[in-house]
């Protein structure tokens, strides 16, 4: 290898390693700082466990809403031409660039309990301010874009000829979508859902403004709680080792869910390879 190539490779290696190090070392520091005591305190702390359970429930609900609304929007953006499509596509990316504290303020202004929109949603049994609805709303707002964007990309990558072949083989538009388009886009949609979930779980700013203290109502009935991220933020001023321990547990939960989803992607998506229609 000539000296120039060796220098280039070394430089690329050092730069790459520094970024990988930046990703990993803070996590290591977190576990190191928390230590066994911090981890066990956080794990045994009823308040944190409730907050964690609530976060998982709310984020699951938010991902459900995100898939229900984001996948059709991604499909429309990928497949259809219509006036204002560029504007809609730009609007979809707004939540990615708006600071999340601002998201909380904007949502609070719109869904204020004494305002017309907030009163209306409350009358439907979906209160937003300091309520489960507010937490889900923030999670959908900050993470919904990922589902739309990845779905759009996934649908766009499905070859038009493949769909035409399915139609000529006897599949109606709905059957072609269910047996060809959706399975082909499944992996992209799953990635979007995972990104949305991760974004929702890591959110703090929006919750601090709109839904910092939540009284979950049935079926999520329970004591006053908040999201895990807000609990950690609040506890940082009280017991840093406990906050670090809770953060480490949150990291472990996130990694576990990531691994489960990837495992599902490898095995559970068998239907996407034809199991749906033998």
């Amino acid at each position: 290898m000539n000296p120039t190539a060796l220098a280039s490779r070394t430089l690329a290696g050092v730069l790459s390693a520094s970024l990988v190090g930046l990703f990993v070392l803070p996590i290591v520091a977190l576990f190191f700082y928390a230590g066994g005591a911090g981890l066990s305190f956080a794990f045994e702390n009823g308040g944190f466990r409730t907050a964690l359970e609530f976060t998982l429930l709310a984020s699951g609900l938010a991902v459900g809403v995100g898939l229900l609304t984001g996948v059709p929007l991604g499909y429309v953006l990928a497949r259809y031409r219509f006036p204002g499509k560029g504007i809609v596509a730009s609007i979809v990316t707004i939540p990615v660039v708006v600071p999340h504290l601002v998201v909380g303020i904007a949502l609070l202004l719109l869904f204020a309990p004494n305002g017309p929109v907030g009163s209306f949603t409350a009358s439907l049994g979906i209160p937003v301010f300091d309520a489960v609805g507010g937490v889900v709303l923030v999670m959908v707002y900050v993470g919904g874009s990922y589902v739309v964007l990845t779905s759009e990309l996934a649908f766009r990558s499905v070859d038009e000829e493949v769909l035409e072949a399915a139609r000529s083989l006897g599949a109606g538009p709905g059957e072609a979508f269910a047996t060809v388009t959706l399975p082909a886009a499944a992996r992209g949609i799953l990635t979007g859902a995972l990104l949305m979930w991760a974004r929702g779980v890591s959110e703090v700013g929006g919750f601090l403004i709109l839904a910092v203290a939540v009284y979950p109502s049935p079926p999520w009935g329970g004591p006053l709680t908040t999201t895990a991220s807000v609990w950690i933020y609040g506890y940082w001023g009280i017991d840093r080792a406990a906050a670090a321990g809770a953060s480490a547990i949150l990291v472990l939960v996130a990694l576990a869910i990531f691994l489960i989803v990837r495992l599902f992607d490898r095995t559970g998506l068998g239907w996407a390879r034809g199991g749906w229609l033998p």
Binding site: E164, L169, E175
Partner: protein
């Protein structure tokens, strides 16, 4: 068994207008659609299959209109240029797809039957990306036939295949035409495939049918520039080219034989010998080896003639002077392209 008939079919794709196009593909025969890029071949196939709306005319199978149905009810075995195989499905699942869709009770048996007929047994558990081009073509054909279509519409099914794979598939297709008795409308750029399969050749140009003939009738003429090129003529001279030829003593004689579309000079019409001592002189401009032998390019003034040199060695080198002549009995005058077809 059914006949496919197109009655003044018209369609549009952007600013391109196709038609009116009228021809028939009888059951058990293949009609090959030919034409330069942009002539409308793929557009016509997609319109017949139902993926482009007709703006005029009708498509009929056995005398009944099918163009009012959506693609899934037309029962055409449509194979698009890139085959449209389902990438997530294995070969067996691809072939079984149309049978599963309609809940065929003997789907398993029929799937295995088509897999066997196309020699795909050893590949049945592979995904399309694990197959060669020829193998993918066979899967697409097996899948199209498993749908029990009433007619076949295949767009460049044999493109990008090596000669052996192509010949194998051509044999398969001929057998299928005999056994299934289906009409096959095929788009190809390959003359060998066209002549091996076609009962009729339909030539499209600028969205209109320029010719609809048997291969024999097409080869015997009258020829125009496109057909001559398709048939493999290399020595095509436009009238203006002959009229303004420089230092080409043969040009006046060729111009006299030329038709409105110019003149085609088959390689066997070019007579030549070494030594530039004859009345019409040329030089060897290039030599290239082909399966048919040495092709010699002879430069006669501003005109270039390609001809064949028999034997394993060409008997000349680039730059050698030669004497050249053209056998007037073998040259083919070309007809012009009607003005309304040049839109």
């Amino acid at each position: 068994m059914s006949d496919l008939e197109l009655f003044d079919v018209e369609t549009e794709r952007g600013t391109f207008h196709l038609g009116p196009v009228r021809f028939e593909v009888p059951a058990g025969t293949a009609t090959v659609l030919l034409g330069p890029s942009g002539a409308g071949k793929t557009t016509l196939l997609r319109a017949i299959a139902g993926f482009l709306p007709l703006t005029g005319g009708s498509v009929q199978l056995d005398g009944a209109r099918v163009d009012e149905f959506p693609p899934e009810r037309r029962r055409f075995g449509f194979v698009p240029p890139n085959l449209g195989l389902f990438p997530q499905r294995r070969v067996r699942q691809n072939v079984r797809y149309p049978l599963s869709l309609r809940g065929a009770p003997d789907a398993e048996r029929k799937t295995e039957d088509w897999i066997g007929r196309f020699g795909l047994e050893a590949l049945a558990e592979r995904f399309p990306h694990e197959l060669s081009s020829g193998q993918r073509q066979r899967v697409a054909m097996a899948r199209a036939l498993a749908a029990e279509p009433r007619a076949l519409l295949w767009d460049e099914p044999l493109a990008a295949l090596d000669v052996e794979s192509r010949d194998t598939l051509v044999r398969l297709l001929r057998d299928l035409l005999e056994t299934e008795r289906l009409p096959l409308l095929l788009v190809t750029h390959d003359p060998t495939t066209a002549f091996a399969l076609a009962s009729r050749l339909v030539i499209l140009h600028s969205g209109l049918v320029r010719a609809d003939r048997t291969p024999e009738a097409l080869a015997r003429g009258p020829l125009d520039r496109f057909v001559a090129r398709f048939l493999g003529f290399e020595n095509l001279f436009a009238p203006a080219e002959l009229a303004t030829a420089r230092e080409a003593t043969l040009a006046p004689r060729l111009a006299a034989s030329s038709g409105p579309g110019g003149l085609a000079v088959p390689p066997e019409a070019v007579l030549w010998r070494s030594g530039g001592d004859g009345p019409h002189r040329a030089r060897v401009a290039a030599l290239r080896w082909t399966a048919a032998g040495w092709v010699v390019a002879l430069r006669h003034g501003s005109l270039t003639f390609h001809t064949l040199a028999p034997g394993a060695v060409p008997g000349c080198r680039v730059g050698d002077p030669v004497t050249i002549d053209v056998d007037p009995a073998v040259v083919k005058p070309l007809v012009g392209i009607p003005a309304e077809e040049e839109r």
